[in-house]
Symmetry: none
Subunit: 302 residues, 2 copies
Amino acid sequence: MKHLRILTYVAEVARHGAIRRAAERLNITPSALTRQIQDIEYELGTPIFERVAQGMRLNAAGELLVRHIRDQRADLERVRSQIADLSGVRRGHVALACSQAFVNHVVPDEVEAYRALFPQVTFTVQVRDHVQAVAALTQFEADLALVLQPPPSADMQVLFSCRQTLCALMRAGHPLAAETGPVRLRDCLVHPMAVPDRSLAIRHHLDDALARRGAPLNAVIESSSLEFLRNLVLREDAVSLQVPSGIPDDPRLCSRPIDARDLPPMSLILAQLRGRTLPVATAKFADRFAGSLHQRYGADVS
Amino acid sequence: MKHLRILTYVAEVARHGAIRRAAERLNITPSALTRQIQDIEYELGTPIFERVAQGMRLNAAGELLVRHIRDQRADLERVRSQIADLSGVRRGHVALACSQAFVNHVVPDEVEAYRALFPQVTFTVQVRDHVQAVAALTQFEADLALVLQPPPSADMQVLFSCRQTLCALMRAGHPLAAETGPVRLRDCLVHPMAVPDRSLAIRHHLDDALARRGAPLNAVIESSSLEFLRNLVLREDAVSLQVPSGIPDDPRLCSRPIDARDLPPMSLILAQLRGRTLPVATAKFADRFAGSLHQRYGADVS
DNA sequence: TGGGCCGTTGCGATTTCGGAAACAGGGGGC
DNA sequence: GCCCCCTGTTTCCGAAATCGCAACGGCCCA
């Protein structure tokens, strides 16, 4: 919407901390930008940026203003969505932040199903770790977050949660693939392990469990990319750890759940920012997503 | 705020139910309004008004939008209020030193008006003569000084100045009260004079003028209290001298300006200590005060 | 069937906005 | 201490959005 132009300028300067970079991003010149900022500061009767040698930094008044701008934009988006809803076609946009573990099946399946119903609804899917995903919610960069074991936060309102049992993942020819059913963690640890690095919740979960029993981790490979780890176990007899939803349907891969005595299940959470009224399209998608997850994994028993 | 202009247009049309009436209220032409409305409807992709013979009526989408506009305006107002709070405009203290001449109308009016806007701002008003008032500034006992004819001082930074013509003050039944308009000083001097004593700038001003023409002063009463002098002229046919701003609105009193040939006008000065950065609340008050004085007495022509 | 009200449109004038380049000021490296 | 680079800011000018004016077409009511 046109009237948000100036506010967008402020938000962009705040985001980049510099007029010149923001101007480049906005496809205008720094001079135009500096004037708009000055106009706003004049209107408010107080500066909203602190001028430092490195650029512009928000002051307290500016913090309040950019929060307002974010709220205002989100609210307008909600209104537009409601209006579009009235006119029959459901259109809108869904911004989702999710963990890597869900880029294989869960999210693409759901997005596809929803877009089959409402082709006018568009999506952005950002892959973030569990900490960044929550941050994306609070900064209005995402409407919804689907993450494993997020840090507890009062800002987060859980729309759905369930338990996911970690699985040992290996290639089809691997010795552990000879049997099916749960596998003990110690049977995995004798093999070279290809595990997520500490940016991922799975690794934290694993470390916690190992620390409690003093078992050493023989981490041959660690990576921030689950996809890389999967590709690795296809090439050598290493064992990786992934949640079921992150395991693609590939006959060359084999997975067995880790015995619950060794590793408690992880929590899978679909959440939004607490207190936010989502746009119609987004709310509807969240609703269907929660239902779909329930159907797939069942409700949380905790 | 500027960016709300277009939204205000929508709200106003919604309120009046007609573009022409709304346009009149907004001080623009109907053509400008109708185009802005069309722009918004184009952006939203749907009409927000239903065109009827009597004018414009909101449809469902419009209802949603005007609710958003109301919310948005209220939220912005809240943010502005918070910003004002932390910038200190709202709460604070103003220490003012002023001459006796301003305790009747000028200062109380201004303090009342400002406190109506910012009830959290407190005041101390010290009545000082023109010399003491400047001293109060330099000693940080006062933030602002409003005085007549202060001694020139490099420490003083003038925020506003104008001219005040001295007036002869007498009771309603006095012979001089029979006429109106300027009065010559010699016509006053034939009556018993009730004049300020030498602690007040008015007296210095009067003495200077009399000394230049060698006229004697028949000072029956002199006092450091303008209020006392006023009470005196109510009781006998004496004549006092005061500046217009010191004369209360009392039907029993009558005043006539002294002819400019006899007494040049005195200068009224609002000043602060040079180089001092006043607290926000104080600076804001000084600003409004200067504007208000300008409106009352006009700018200084010297 | 006019008159009055309504919103809307074309066009010229005004205001606002943005772009290019020069300016001013503060680090950081030499 | 000097120089270079990066920062925001200012100035001048052209471009674009906005507005005002006048005219038009539609609707209601007397």
